[in-house]
């Protein structure tokens, strides 16, 4: 075991600190090539990761980078720097700790390259940049350890794929490099271990006591549909009053805004309550964070922006509004309460509607049973690989064979074939087009067996475009007539474009009136007391995970439901009497007439995205069978389709081959594909990110990625980027894989129940927003109507 420097041991003793068993074990495992530490929040996980570094560096370390710490959040690196400083300065160790993120000044960054600190705290994006410099081998010379914090969060996204490619690079530069991954919530430790390194030791700390979680009891039962949970506001205010600090999590920013607004209308005691989400301006978020750490707030209404990271204040209660959709996220959020080791966290779930009562129960069961969800991510995406190849070329000439062998040491790319690698390299070098290559203007050239940039000056632009996070174009929102004043927040460009003067929306908890667009700013005025037009921010719409959906189906199989609130148990009993409850082994369909239309309900339990795709594909099939579908609406559990004729023979509608053919045709012109293509094209280096500054001056020079997508589809349909786009779209927003899994599971067992009227389980679907009309010429008709109205309004028609 590596011993702590005596001064550090003494300092710990004077503070009355003793090491947790897992912290001591980390010291014992200091020399293993890769370790994954799974320890609960508040268990001194980060310190455990750094102890071997402090021990090895000792009181007077020689200069040079020893440990690289990588976190998904910029804010976390600054926090860790402050936390590390306490023991280092306390024990009088001469160890330099610095962070490096997009916020670090230019001078500081230059100095760090020339003279790296002992411990460098950074993010995957900043690391990508560092590795793309020609002097990367010198900067990272002698690097001993790399620590990846919240590794589960990174492993879920392309940021993680990029990171492990970079670590493979670092390992080639320093063959003795040791890797450490830190996480509190891991559903599949061996898979995460494999992601970290081929041979990883898993160290599981004592998970601590189970959290104290339950459903919030309210006087009024939840409504039949909707996602706001506003019926529970009196009960929520009551809980806020009974606790020191409460975090109130929502799944989307728009819901958080609406809830916050109504919370204040009912907040008769004027409890100090703030709001925090990613669409608010940096200044506003900072203010809330500061108020919270000062203990000045009793509650904060928030979204995923507070899922990870920094400990503020003394949170003793977490309330989740709306079904959590995903158990892992719920556990992460619960962990935000009570950051003390060996004390249970306290959390309350508030189902937003009747169906979510069952989902919340399923989530409670899953947390108590210690099961977490998570879909396997599949092989590493190739757009990230293309970017990595380009970044590698920026650092200097490389040998393709060597690079390939380095890449397949990274977990997500272990199964990459050399043909796939060659296709990515060809794309980066020549564009990879079928009909014409840029012979003279290749991006990379092969000279003496090594690939290098044709024009070294292009490295600067390539570096500006590194990273896998794609920002949706947003516009700042400001009060009219207050130039230079604090912006209220940001909204998506598409949302801003849909506004007409006079429209009202919520931002930062206030209702504002849209006045107009001035350059790149949305100008608004305050209109207290008006009902807002709902804000459509870019908040993620989560789909219910497979684990939760399966658990809900299991709950349905019970004979009775003593654990569920009476109103919900009665509702399920009634459904069983009138029709069937869905079960895991078959696909339940219900058909009934209502309001002069025929209805079909598909209880697929495949999550919102897949149910939506199913709606599109099945109505398409119905159209070709002459069943005249008129529209559909999808939830996480079911799709409701209405039309003129009843469905008598459902089996042909659910033939997986037919659905897949339909998907091919439908996909090609779909907006989801275009959006996915844009991200892929940016990551792979085909198009540059739109920078605010350049957008202003770019004007005619920039054109939309949609045009490239259409051109490629027309002239080069097998192009690498189109292949990647299809893969991405299928596993993301379209989620066809869950439809395939569903149909494979049920096989021929498709049950159609015909009833004379709406069934209890189907009833809530009629209140769902987001109904999608089925028509071919819809978009053109909308545009023509809008043009007609504008001309009439202008007196020109």
């Amino acid at each position: 075991m590596t011993a702590l420097p005596p001064s550090l041991a003494t300092w710990f003793a004077t503070k009355g600190w003793t090491l947790h068993p897992h912290q001591a074990q980390m010291l014992a495992l200091a020399h293993t090539p890769a370790t994954l530490l799974i320890a609960p929040t508040g268990g001194g996980k980060t310190l455990a990761g750094f102890l071997p570094t402090l021990a090895e560096l000792g009181p007077t370390p020689p200069p040079g980078l020893h440990t690289l710490y990588i976190s998904p959040l910029k804010a976390l690196t600054a926090d860790i720097r402050r936390n590390l400083r306490t023991p280092i300065e306390g024990a009088g160790l001469h160890i330099r700790v610095e962070d490096r993120t997009g916020d670090t000044t230019y001078t500081q960054r230059r100095r760090q390259r020339a003279d790296p600190p002992h411990i460098l705290l950074t993010t995957p994006e900043s690391l990508a940049l560092l590795l793309s410099y020609e002097d990367a081998p010198r900067i990272f010379q002698g690097l001993q350890r790399v620590i990846i914090d919240e590794i589960h969060a990174l492993a879920e996204s392309k940021r993680g794929d990029q990171l492990v490619l970079q670590i493979a690079r670092l390992q080639s530069l320093n063959p003795g490099l040791r890797r450490v991954g830190l996480s509190a919530t891991v559903e599949n430790p061996p898979a995460l271990a494999q992601f970290l390194a081929p041979e990883t030791t898993i160290l599981q700390a004592d998970p601590g006591p189970d959290p104290d979680i339950s459903m919030l009891e309210t006087d009024a039962p939840p409504p039949w549909s909707g996602g706001g949970g506003r019926y529970a506001i009196p009960a929520v205010l009551n809980e806020i009053a009974r606790h020191k600090t409460t975090l109130i999590f929502h799944n989307t920013r728009a819901q958080a805004e609406l809830f916050f607004h109504d919370l204040w209308l009912q907040n008769t005691d004027s409890l100090p309550i703030g709001i925090h989400h990613g669409s608010l301006s940096r200044e506003q978020r900072d203010r809330v964070e500061q108020a919270m750490s000062a203990g000045a707030l009793r509650a904060v209404v928030c979204t995923g922006s507070l899922d990870l990271g920094i400990d503020w204040g003394d949170v003793d209660l977490v309330i989740q509004i709306g079904a959590p959709k995903n158990v892992k996220r719920l556990v992460q959020r619960i962990g935000r309460a009570n950051h003390r080791y060996n004390a249970p966290s306290k959390a309350l779930l508030v189902p937003a509607n009747r169906f979510e009562v069952v989902e919340c129960q399923a989530a409670l069961d899953a947390v108590r049973a210690h099961t977490l969800d998570g879909e396997p991510r599949g092989p590493g995406p190739r757009d990230v690989l293309c970017q990595h190849i380009l970044a590698t070329a920026c650092a200097g000439p490389f040998n393709a064979d060597q690079l390939y062998h380095e890449i397949i040491t990274a977990g997500p790319y272990a199964l990459l074939t050399s043909a796939e690698f060659d296709a990515c390299l060809d794309f980066v070098a020549t564009g990879g087009y079928a009909l014409k290559a840029y012979d003279r203007w290749q991006r990379l050239k092969l000279t003496n067996g090594e690939w290098h940039l044709r024009d070294p000056r292009t490295a600067a632009v390539i570096r500006q475009n590194l990273g896998t996070i794609i920002d949706i174009d947003t516009l700042k929102v400001r009060l009219k007539g207050r130039f230079g004043g604090t912006p209220l927040g940001e909204v998506e460009e598409g949302f801003a474009a849909s506004l007409i003067p006079g429209d009202t929306f919520l931002i930062g908890g206030e209702v504002v009136r849209y006045e107009g667009l001035k350059e790149l700013t949305v100008e608004v005025s305050r209109t207290p007391g008006r009902d807002p037009k709902v804000a459509v921010f870019n908040g993620t719409k989560f789909a219910t995970s497979t684990l939760l959906a399966d658990r809900i189906l299991e709950i349905f199989q019970a004979d009775s439901w003593p654990d569920l609130p009476t109103h919900t148990a009665q509702w399920l009993s009634l459904q069983r009497e009138v029709s069937h409850l869905p079960d895991p082994r078959s696909l339940l369909l219900e058909s009934f007439p209502h309001d002069g239309r025929e209805h079909l309900v598909v209880y697929g339990f495949a999550g919102r995205n897949a149910q939506q795709t199913l709606g599109l594909l099945v109505t398409k099939q119905m159209e070709s069978q002459g069943l005249a579908p008129l529209g559909f609406v999808a939830t996480d559990y079911a799709t409701l389709i209405w039309g003129i004729d009843p469905v008598i023979d459902p089996a042909p509608l659910f033939d997986v081959e037919t659905l897949r053919d339909g998907l091919e045709t439908w996909l090609s012109g779909n907006a989801v594909m275009k959006r996915t293509f844009r991200s892929t094209a940016i990551i792979a280096g085909l198009i540059e990110r739109s920078h605010q500054g350049r957008r202003k001056s770019g004007r005619q020079a920039t054109f939309s990625s949609d045009i490239l997508y259409d051109t490629l589809r027309r002239f080069d349909p097998d192009h690498l980027l189109l292949q990647i786009t299809r893969e991405e779209a299928l596993r993301g927003l379209i989620d066809f894989s869950r439809i395939e899994a569903l149909l494979a599971r049920v096989g021929p067992r498709i049950t159609l129940v015909r009833r004379p009227r709406v069934t209890p389980l189907a009833a809530p679907l009629f209140f769902e927003p987001g109904r999608i009309p089925v028509h071919g010429q819809g978009r053109d008709r909308l545009a023509a109507d809008a043009a007609q109205k504008l001309m009439e309004a202008a007196g020109l028609a």
Partner: protein, 214 residues
């Protein structure tokens, strides 16, 4: 197609972004930007799909076929730069030659392609054909003027589309080329140029007229 009565003449503004003057069997297109992807590659930028020239030619082919035009005016920036004109690949050059065959073809000089091209046709800084003047960049005092250059675009029902701008004095044409961005109608250059009652005629699957957004 949007029919516009302009200085005593009926002009057809096509959804493709071309302008057809039936009385003269004349077709006008602007800002074709042939060879744009190659120029970007040459300058060390991205390697965009090298298909924009044939996409633009295909569109032009269709418009010539449906309008049966005997005269063609390209309003400048037809080539992304002079080198792009020379660098056009053989198939594309043949296609263009075929389109030009038997037609009175005029290349107006643009800011991207100042020099004459070796492809044939006549080359002019501007062209007058009563009652109109055809030039690349609109002049503040222009009258009965048809020009290009600005690539105007406008948004309707959540979609952005290239558009024609038209008032009593002038028509500004949308860019016809496949890889061309645009300048929002409400940009100061365009609001200063166009009269307050100007119309924007959007291209797309149908030509739709709206009051020019500003």
């Amino acid at each position: 197609m949007h029919a516009l009565f302009f200085h005593g003449q009926t002009l057809h503004l096509l959804p493709s972004g071309a302008l057809h003057w039936p009385a003269e069997r004349l077709l006008v297109v602007s800002d074709l930007h042939f060879g744009k992807s190659e120029r970007l590659a040459r300058r060390g930028g991205s390697l965009l799909p090298p298909y924009e020239t044939r996409a633009t030619l295909a569109k032009l082919d269709t418009d010539l076929d449906t309008t049966k035009a005997a005269q063609v005016i390209c309003l400048g920036d037809s080539f992304d730069d002079d080198a792009a004109a020379e660098g056009l690949d053989e198939a594309d050059t043949l296609w263009l030659t075929r389109l030009m065959a038997g037609r009175d073809w005029t290349w107006i000089t643009g800011n991207h392609d100042p020099g004459p091209v070796s492809i044939g046709g006549s080359h002019r800084a501007e062209r007058a054909q009563h009652p109109f003047t055809f030039r690349h960049i609109a002049e503040p005092t222009g009258f009965a003027e048809i020009s290009g250059h600005y690539h105007p675009k406008a948004r309707l029902a959540g979609q952005s589309r290239p558009c024609f701008l038209a008032d009593r004095s002038r028509i500004v044409m949308p860019a016809y080329g496949a890889y061309t961005g645009g300048l929002w109608c409400h940009a100061p250059e365009l609001t200063a140029l166009m009269a307050p009652d100007a119309l924007a005629i959007l291209t797309g699957s149908r030509a739709l007229a709206i009051p020019m957004p500003r």
